[in-house]
């Protein structure tokens, strides 16, 4: 009975979404205030209905209701509660329900907090959100209904893929979806603006916080996924250029581009058409990501749910929404004339360069991801595109981006001078080059990647510090210090995010260049050296887990005889899913992680053991968190709360 209520709620949500996507749009066209006013209650009711439906599915998982097909194939009574809950979105149907829930959440947020938007724009934005809702609710109900009952329910379920039974992965999809789906807001604002035929500074100011929020979630989601791969897959890698990773990476890159170009729209009323196009593309790539993951067209480690019919449906959604928006764009882009003019050397130009580099790097990831498909369909060649290609083709653009970031971020609007921003950056330049040289001197005879990454990362970090310090004026240290604390949060956000990027760049190169690996057979009681540490295999025991059997080693790590830590790497076997997993044991540290993996028992006695020193691994997650935190600081800036409603006077005065 409860299940049917959830099912009905979902169908009702579809009906409400149909109302939400049509009547307010018509009302906005006719200037009918009553029809426009329908949008807000519709968005709120849609959230309530979808949330109820989601709650019912969660209840079915927690209570192990095996009359539901989804619960049978993805749950088991012996599974811990956390994974019963995360099992709701650990499968195709449930994850799409989560998708729709988050979509409804964003729609309701506009309805609840969008009071300062002009009525017409708000009605149109909500109507476009409603259309996306209709498409995905139809998809859910027609091809992927989570409330499908079984005629003869089995006694127990088939368990969730053991790789997914992990705290990092339990929260990875919700964050990722908050990001993906959040970009639908930018899309809805873009389409609404195209319908109105007007983009101005106020539009830029409204669209930015939504994009920023989506980007923050996407950053955290990607970082969680990368961290999960790092500790769970058992060889200490953090990024594999897997199609599904790329699917989340492309919208992330485009969202950054969009955030920066929306600044130009907001401050200078320029780059309007390009910003609208970016907003459409960013959500388009979210849909492409959904298509790649859900259709399984490009098989990958992550394609745990794939079905060609569903793929065609998503392709249809993708075609209608991006195609439709692009046609609208072609018809209306001419109406969006730039007002703010700028010189070749100016903040605007630097942001254009940022956008070019980000868009091209997203394109490189895109073509690398779909090339095997193109080659197979059109050229009749089966080939693979993997890490070596992406490292070679993608990295140059990131390096270029990091090089221009510090001077670009300090250029004046309208017309700047390179000499002035370089002069301010001389200390940062000297400092980062010396750090690079120091790194080169400490490491001997290794790849140049480490020192180069160190110098580049330091350049971005010190550049960010120089930038924020330069904003405090030219008085004495004391006055500047107190002004530093009173700077708008957006300035702090900018500096924090940029510094986070620098730290991430450094950590990626350090991890790639300075990783130490050791593979050997170890007898119980034997000690072996590992990059300045000594590791002893004390014992290997059989241990019983809640829904798995574990072969658990105990290994003691010492340095010059002093105890560092005791680690327990495991090999697990999940009997229900008949699947083995590797659980690496990691000692997280400020400068390095010690990463131990237990392999197989050898015929000659002893165990295969793989051990790694992962230098600066925590800096990678720290850098990502810092980027996200910077976004959060910027989002909390006062002007979004106070002045968001006030339309700015057009600032389109040409330079003298």
């Amino acid at each position: 009975m409860i299940i049917e209520l959830g099912h009905f709620a979902l169908i009702l949500a579809l009906m409400v979404a149909v109302v939400q996507s049509t009547l307010p749009l018509w009302g906005a066209h006719r200037g009918d205030a009553r029809l426009m006013a329908l949008a807000e209650p519709a968005a709120l009711v849609q959230l309530v209905l979808v949330a109820a439906s989601f709650g019912v599915l969660t209840w079915a998982f927690v209570a192990s209701d095996f009359s539901l097909a989804v619960v049978v194939s993805n749950s088991h009574t012996a599974k811990p509660l956390l994974y019963k809950i995360s099992g709701v979105w650990g499968n195709h149907e449930g994850s799409l329900l989560l998708w729709v829930l988050i979509l409804a959440l964003y729609g309701a947020a506009v309805a609840a907090f969008g009071g300062n938007l002009p009525t017409r724009l708000r009605a149109r934005v909500l109507a476009v959100q409603g259309m996306i809702g209709v498409a995905f609710l139809l998809f859910l109900l027609l091809t992927s209904n989570p409330f499908w009952r079984l005629l003869a329910p089995p006694l127990d379920g088939q368990d969730l893929n053991p790789l997914l039974q992990d705290p990092g992965l339990a929260f990875h999809p919700p964050f990722l979806y908050l990001g993906y789906v959040g970009l639908s807001m930018a899309y809805s604002f873009a389409v609404a603006a195209l319908i109105e035929g007007r983009v101005d500074a106020a539009w830029g100011r409204w669209v930015r916080p939504w994009t920023l929020a989506a980007w923050i979630f996407l950053t955290i989601g990607i970082a969680l996924g990368s961290w999960w791969a790092y500790y769970e897959l058992g060889w200490g890698g953090f990024w594999f250029w897997d199609p599904v990773e790329n699917a989340s990476f492309m919208p992330w890159l485009l969202a950054i581009a969009l955030l920066h170009s929306a600044i130009v729209v907001e401050k200078r009323e320029s780059l309007k058409a390009w910003t609208v196009l970016l907003a459409i593309m960013a959500f388009g790539f979210s849909l492409i990501g959904t298509f790649i993951v859900r259709s399984g067209v490009i098989t990958s480690v992550h394609a745990f749910a794939n079905d060609p019919e569903r793929g065609v449906f998503i392709l249809l959604i993708l075609g209608v929404f991006t195609g439709g928006a692009l046609i609208l764009f072609a018809l209306r882009a001419g109406a969006m004339e730039a007002k703010g003019l700028f010189a070749m050397v100016s903040r605007e130009s630097a942001l254009v360069a940022n956008n070019v580099l980000l868009a091209v790097s997203a394109f490189v990831v895109f073509i690398g991801t779909i090339w095997p498909l193109i080659a197979e369909l059109l050229l009749d060649r089966t080939l693979s595109v993997g890490e070596p290609f992406f490292n070679a083709a993608f990295t140059p653009f990131v390096v270029a981006l990091a090089l221009i970031l510090p001077p670009g971020a300090m250029l004046a609007w309208k017309r700047g001078t390179l000499a002035r921003s370089f002069k301010a950056l001389v200390p940062a330049l000297i400092l980062s080059l010396s750090l690079g040289a120091l790194g080169f001197a400490i490491q001997t005879g290794q790849t140049a990647l480490g020192p180069i990454g160190l110098a580049l990362g330091a350049w971005v970090v010190f550049g960010a510090l120089t930038d924020i310090w330069a904003r405090t004026g030219r008085e004495g240290i004391g006055a500047r210090g107190s002004r530093l604390l009173r700077l708008p949060r957006a300035d702090w956000g900018k500096a924090t995010s940029h510094a986070g990027l620098g730290i991430t760049i450094f950590a990626v190169s350090a991890l790639t260049a300075w990783k130490i690996e050791d593979i050997r057979v170890v007898q119980i009681g034997e000690t072996f050296p590992l990059g300045g540490y000594e590791v002893r295999l004390d014992a290997v025991d059989e241990v019983e887990g809640p829904n798995y059997q574990s072969t658990m080693a105990q290994m003691t790590v010492t340095r010059d005889g002093a105890l560092v830590t005791v680690l327990s790497p495991e090999k697990r076997f999940y009997p229900v899913a008949a699947m083995p997993t590797t659980e690496a044991a990691i000692d997280y540290g400020f400068l390095r992680d010690i990463y131990l993996v237990l392999g197989d028992r050898q015929q000659s006695g002893g165990w295969a053991v793989r051990s790694y020193i992962e230098p600066f691994a925590n800096w990678l997650w720290g850098g990502c968190l810092l980027m996200a935190f910077g976004g959060f600081l910027s989002l909390s800036d006062r002007r979004y709360r106070v002045a968001a409603g006030a339309r700015k006077v057009p600032a389109g005065v040409p330079a003298e």
Binding site: K414, I519, R520, Q602
Partner: protein, 146 residues
């Protein structure tokens, strides 16, 4: 029951990436072998290199690569040897030949095109460098009258 579980455990137990018994005594050859096997895709897995993969065929390939290296093959010869038997599919780094050139040059080409478009748009939008003088203004008005 316990024996069944044990049997399953042995059956399903993964053969981990690079085993201790595979490693060559010569560190230079071993480093070359690792570099090569990072760029070879496991033919039966989903997007893993043979260096990371647990599949038995990857182990075989890793051993073959080391045998070829010990026999004195160059890196290119070793890779050719594998590609001849398993096809282009196993190359993670598609060779820039034939239609694959498009893949390699698409990014840089788009970059140059985007720069060209941005600079052209910028030229159109750039603010005038100097103001017209009085005489020029007057001349302009005359021309416009005609």
């Amino acid at each position: 029951m316990k024996r069944l579980v044990l049997a399953l455990l042995l059956l399903a137990s993964p053969v981990h990436a690079v085993q201790p018994d595979e490693i060559l005594a010569d560190p230079v050859l071993e480093a070359r072998a690792r570099d090569i096997s990072r760029e070879i895709r496991c033919p039966v897995c989903q997007g893993e290199s043979i260096d990371d993969s647990n599949a038995p065929i990857s182990r075989d390939l890793r051993i073959i690569i080391r045998e070829r290296l010990v026999a004195g093959d160059t890196d290119r010869e070793v890779v050719d040897y594998v590609v001849d038997r398993y096809g282009e599919f196993v190359l993670f780094n598609p060779r820039p030949e034939g239609s694959t050139l498009i893949l390699w040059f698409a990014g840089p080409a788009l970059f140059l095109a985007a720069i060209a478009v941005a600079v052209a748009a910028q030229r159109r939008r750039a603010p005038p460098e100097v103001k017209l003088t009085e005489a020029e203004e007057a001349r302009l008005r005359e021309i416009l009258k005609e």
